[in-house]
Every structure is written in structure tokens, then in C-alpha cells.
């Protein structure tokens, strides 16, 4: 088996973070559970947001988890890919909008 930093089976051990700091882990998991409950947004809508964010933060565990969750919640492949494009567009836009800062600096320095 190849030795990598990420192991898919580690996702199942997520709760074990409480072994080293139970109080904070308990607070996190309780809050996490509440976040994904039905609220002003539906649990289904939150699942798609989570899928997009998982790609933006490039978390392989989250991508596995929320690809499964989005399938279970009845999203189509096209809907899931469009969510990834939204994440990519924000990331790409975030890079490009800094181009204005670069232009400001260049304009300040040059005659």
C-alpha cells in the first residue's frame, strides 16, 4: 500500500480528535450537527454548499463525504458539478481581483 498523508479510512476516525481534547471536540461536533440541521436553509441546500466549500478548501475527506451526501439527497451530477464550478469561480475570481492590487502598485511605482 502506498504511503500518503491522506487515508480514506481516517475519515471514520474523525471523532477520535476528542481523545486528545474532549471538551472542544464535543463542542465542535455538537455545533457541526446543528449547522447541518434544517433551518432557514434546508439540509439539502446545506449539503450542496458543503460540497462546494469542500472543493474550495480542497479537503479530500469532505469531498468524499459530501459527494455521497449530495447523491443521497438526490442531486444530479450536473448540479454537483455546477456547485464545484461556483467554488472554482470564487477561487479564480479571488485570485484575479487581486490583480487590481497589483495594478494599483504598478501604477503607483511607474511614471
Amino acid at each position: 500500500m502506498s504511503n500518503t498523508y491522506y487515508h480514506p479510512e481516517d475519515l471514520k476516525k474523525f471523532a477520535a480528535i476528542g481523545d486528545f481534547q474532549k471538551e472542544l471536540a464535543d463542542k465542535f461536533f455538537s455545533w457541526y450537527g446543528d449547522v447541518f440541521k434544517e433551518g432557514a436553509l434546508t439540509a439539502r441546500e446545506k449539503s450542496l454548499i458543503a460540497l462546494a466549500v469542500a472543493h474550495a478548501v480542497q479537503c479530500p475527506y469532505c469531498i468524499d463525504a459530501y459527494s455521497t451526501d449530495a447523491l443521497e439527497k438526490g442531486y444530479t451530477e450536473a448540479q454537483m458539478m455546477e456547485a464545484v464550478h461556483v467554488a472554482a469561480a470564487i477561487r479564480g475570481g479571488a485570485t484575479l481581483v487581486h490583480g487590481v492590487q497589483m495594478m494599483n502598485k504598478v501604477n503607483q511605482l511607474t511614471m
Partner: protein
């Protein structure tokens, strides 16, 4: 795609399937289903009373779906005899079993299907037919099935694994989605699924892969919205069903490397409330040869009723069958995961 039986695939053997189901996960055994029931205080699992006779009239089907727990297909020749159908009718006549649930294969392919439905109708039973939709268009002689169903008060229960073509066809075969929509239009035209018609058309969703179904109500809303807006199709209810880790779906799980994760998912999603409402508690399953089983899944795994009980419909005895211990195995985790799963959809809300 051909059936496991036609391929002489090792998983065509129920014994081989049970061996796979008994294996451990990376050296760590899955908990036994019966132990979960015991911990929930429902072991031995017993019937609440037989209300539904589910009759599997044969394994022949015009489709060869990738997840089929029956391993049904065009090449399957197993078919219920007229004599066994008569024995089923005798039991229905003699006992207060209010519903007959006719399944297959595609039950409509049985040459005595219409006669059998007619007899059940005469007996005043509620009749469910598990219609795969495409059978209605498979041959001119089946085009009038919607009007036949209507004239016999049949409740139509039809599989449609998703509201788009790509995911449906991956599971059920190329072109199945479009044909299913066409068949649904014919059923709607007859009044099925239409408000106040009294003609029930219920769809069955099962995940097209190694994942669990979403909440039934939520998926039903999506199906209704998309099918109406994009295809002008109406239906009454959506039943969400979990794929059982047996037969062709078991083959898919093993081939795709998803078996251990899927079983772990089913086991960890065990729901005691769903276990209390499993369909085997109010249903008795009859195989094509008249053999009796606790459910259609046990039938396909050849898990017979407990020793000492009537094993054939000709020896039906309501009292002893109502007191039977229901036979369980590891596949039963499929019926108790999450909101639970039955032929009538999720067990809990």
C-alpha cells in the same frame, strides 16, 4: 447485460452470497443482525399478523437491471404454475389477508397474470402490481395494461430510480427512462396518479449506487417537481427503498470495491424503530414454486421458514405462521438502515 444465472456466475448461488455476507471487514466481523435485534428487545423477531401475501409469479423480465435482487431477466424461465396460483387464491379466500402484492420479474409476462389478477379482484382483495413500466410498451399485447389495471382496481407500484435519464438508464438499461416516461403518460391518461381518480400510481426510488436513500418526503417533492415540469407526469407517492446487498447489487458492490463500506454504512445506520416495523412482520412471501419465505429477499437467498413450519403455500396454516420466528441474516441491515426500507418505502419518517 445478462443475468448472473446465465453467466453461471458464482453469486448466482445463494449459498455463495451468504458466505460473502458472513465475512468480516478487514479482520473485524460486522455485528450480527440478530444481536442488534436482541439489543433492541425484538429477538426473536415475530410477525404482527399476516396482512399481505406477496406472490412472486416468476423471474422472467424484459429488463436486466444492475441492482436486481431477483437476478431477473429475459433468460429466466422460472414461472409459477397454475396449480400454485390456485393454492394462493385458496389461501386468500380462506383468510382475512387484505392485500396481494404481485411481483416478479415482470409479473405481466406470466401467461396467467391477468387471470390471477381477475381472481384476486373477485375475492375483493387490494391488489398491488409491481410493474416495471417498460413492459407496457414491450409488445402491443401489453399496451392495454393501464386499462386492465384500472378495471381491476390495481394499485400500480413502479420503479423509477431517478428523475433523469442518465442515472435511470445506468441502472435499468439504455432507453429505459424515456420508455418509462411514455408508460407513465399512458397510466396518467387512464387516470392513474391523477387527483381524485382513486387510481394509485406509486413510484419506487432506489439509489443508483452504494449509498442510502434520502428522506422519502424530500425526494418525493423533487420527483414530483421535475417529472411534472419536464415531462408532464403525475404520481401519488414515492417509496424510497434501500438496495439490499444481495444478488446483482452484491456483485456490483464487490466489483466496485464498495462492499465493506456499504455494509458498514448499513450497520452503523441501524435504526431500532425501523426494525420494529420491518415488512416481514406483516407479509408472507410466496416463491414461484409455492415455497414460503419471510420476505422476497429471503426468497432470493433461499432462506426458508424456520423448521417445523409449513414450507409450501399448499400447507398454509395462519396460526403457526403468525407465531413463527422470522429468519434473519446480515442482508436484513438493508431494511433497518436510516429511516428503514420496505416494499412500501421507508418505515419511519
Amino acid at each position: 447485460m445478462s443475468t448472473l444465472s446465465f453467466q453461471q456466475h458464482p453469486l448466482a448461488s445463494s449459498q455463495r452470497q451468504l458466505e460473502v455476507l458472513s465475512r468480516s471487514n478487514a479482520g473485524k466481523p460486522f455485528p450480527a443482525f440478530r444481536e442488534k435485534l436482541a439489543a433492541s428487545g425484538i429477538w426473536p423477531l415475530q410477525p404482527t399478523g399476516i396482512e399481505v401475501l406477496q406472490v412472486n409469479v416468476g423471474k422472467q423480465c424484459n429488463q436486466t437491471c444492475r441492482h436486481c435482487h431477483v437476478d431477473a431477466g429475459p433468460d429466466r424461465k422460472e414461472r409459477m404454475s397454475h396449480e400454485v396460483m390456485d393454492q394462493c387464491l385458496h389461501v386468500l379466500k380462506q383468510h382475512d389477508i387484505h392485500t396481494v402484492d404481485i411481483t416478479g420479474g415482470a409479473p405481466e409476462l406470466h401467461p396467467d397474470f391477468r387471470w390471477f389478477v381477475g381472481q384476486c379482484h373477485t375475492l375483493g382483495k387490494k391488489i398491488l402490481v409491481r410493474c416495471n413500466l417498460t413492459i407496457i410498451l414491450a409488445n402491443k399485447s401489453y399496451n392495454d395494461l393501464p386499462s386492465f389495471y384500472k378495471s381491476h382496481g390495481v394499485e400500480v407500484v413502479s420503479s423509477l430510480p431517478f428523475y433523469n435519464a442518465s442515472r435511470t438508464d445506468k441502472q435499468r438499461g439504455d432507453g429505459v427512462f424515456d420508455k418509462s416516461i411514455e408508460a407513465l403518460h399512458l397510466l396518467n391518461a387512464e387516470g392513474y396518479g391523477m387527483e381524485d381518480s382513486g387510481l394509485q400510481l406509486n413510484l419506487v426510488y432506489n439509489p443508483s449506487g452504494a449509498f442510502l436513500p434520502a428522506a422519502q418526503q424530500e425526494l418525493e417533492a423533487q420527483f414530483k417537481k421535475v417529472l411534472l415540469q419536464q415531462h408532464g407526469v403525475r404520481f401519488n407517492s414515492l417509496y424510497t427503498i434501500t438496495n439490499m446487498p444481495i444478488s446483482r447489487f452484491l456483485d456490483f458492490l464487490l466489483q466496485s470495491g464498495n462492499y465493506d463500506d456499504y455494509m458498514e454504512k448499513l450497520v452503523s445506520a441501524y435504526n431500532a424503530q425501523a426494525a420494529r416495523g420491518v415488512m416481514c412482520r406483516n407479509t408472507l412471501s410466496v416463491g414461484w414454486d409455492g415455497s414460503l419465505y419471510d420476505c422476497d429477499f429471503n426468497q432470493m437467498l433461499d432462506i426458508r421458514l424456520a423448521d417445523g413450519l409449513p414450507q409450501h403455500i399448499s400447507r398454509f396454516n395462519l396460526e403457526s405462521l403468525n407465531g413463527r420466528p422470522i429468519q434473519v441474516n446480515q442482508h436484513c441491515f438493508g431494511c433497518t438502515a436510516g429511516a428503514g426500507s420496505s416494499c412500501g418505502g421507508s418505515i419511519t419518517t
